[in-house]
């Protein structure tokens, strides 16, 4: 048996074992997660994923955002200073396409953000969509965002984290850190998610844009 055949055999074996494992997975009926899902209807946010992200493990979500922010700090540290943006000829088709598509992307992102309260969606998905929109703008119009102040951009990057931590301190009055008070939790979480969407979209777009802008060689 050659080496290649051995690898294929290995992958097939892994695949079959995983399939069998998946088929023999127990159902979640009657377990503790089922009970938690039943209790979820009483809360303001009815979607389980958002509830886990924001109620049960909100500190994890906060630190997750902090990790992304730290990655951006690393990017800034390695960012070349003498940037060269090639002045590309603007294509009329791409220009009109951007004008048409970006409002659609922005609205779709807002819908995703709002739908996180009752179905799949939420800050991270909405931010990814919005970041895609920003990247399309940057690719079709290379000089856009060039005039925005660096301080303003940096503020947008930290904005979500800032709102999250501030609301965490506000909730200190009613209990412990990041324990949102019942009654107003819906609006608090929607505020946090909106701020996170803006910040994360800017951060992800910055990863891409800083990645494609380089030193003039």
């Amino acid at each position: 048996m050659t080496k290649n055949n051995l690898i294929i055999f290995f992958f097939c074996a892994v695949f079959i074992v995983l399939t069998l494992l998946f088929l023999s997975m127990p159902s979640f009926e009657g377990t503790i997660s089922q009970q938690a899902a039943h209790q979820m209807d009483a809360l303001g946010i009815s979607h389980p994923v958002t509830a886990v992200l924001m109620y049960f493990r909100s500190l994890d979500t906060l630190l997750e955002v902090a990790v992304i922010f730290t990655a951006l700090c690393g990017f800034y540290a390695l960012y070349p200073r003498f940037l060269h943006t090639p002045p590309q000829p603007r294509s009329i088709v791409a220009d009109h396409f951007t004008t048409l598509i970006f409002p659609v992307i922005a609205v779709a992102s807002a819908v995703l953000l709002y739908s996180g309260t009752f179905q799949s969606g939420g800050a991270f998905q909405a931010a990814a969509l919005l970041a895609g929109g920003i990247i399309i703008i940057k690719l079709t119009r290379p000089l856009s965002f060039a005039k925005t102040k660096a301080h303003g951009r940096k503020f947008v990057y930290v904005f979500g984290l800032l709102v999250f931590v501030l609301l965490g301190f506000v909730s200190l009055f009613s209990g412990s850190f990041l324990a949102f008070a019942t009654g107003s939790e819906y609006w608090q979480i929607l505020t946090v998610e909106t701020a996170l969407t803006l910040s994360l979209a800017a951060t992800m777009a910055a990863f891409f844009i800083m990645g494609i802008e380089r030193v003039k060689r």
């Binding site: 799949s120 990645g211 494609i212």
Partner: protein
């Protein structure tokens, strides 16, 4: 059931192709296709949040960055050959 099996098998096959295909460009294309298939698998498993994130971040932004990286390395190679 058959669709699930096909999706799972194609994932394994695509993962195998990514590491054996040889050229960077082809591997990147396979990676993007892999991300799309993975998001389909997440959808079949009912994890729509993960499917959205995988399609947008794992496949979209990472794939575009990798493509840009491939073209950058290609340009470096051309410069090196000229010297």
């Amino acid at each position: 059931m058959i669709i699930d099996l096909l999706l799972g098998a194609s994932l394994v096959w695509l993962g195998f192709r990514i590491i054996t295909v040889g050229t960077r460009f082809k591997a990147t294309i396979y990676f993007i296709v892999f991300g799309m298939m993975l998001s389909l698998v997440w959808t079949r498993l009912g994890a729509f949040d993960l499917a959205l994130a995988e399609a947008a971040l794992g496949s979209g932004i990472t794939g575009a960055l990798l493509l840009d990286c491939v073209s950058y390395l290609h340009a470096c190679r051309i410069d090196y050959d000229k010297k």
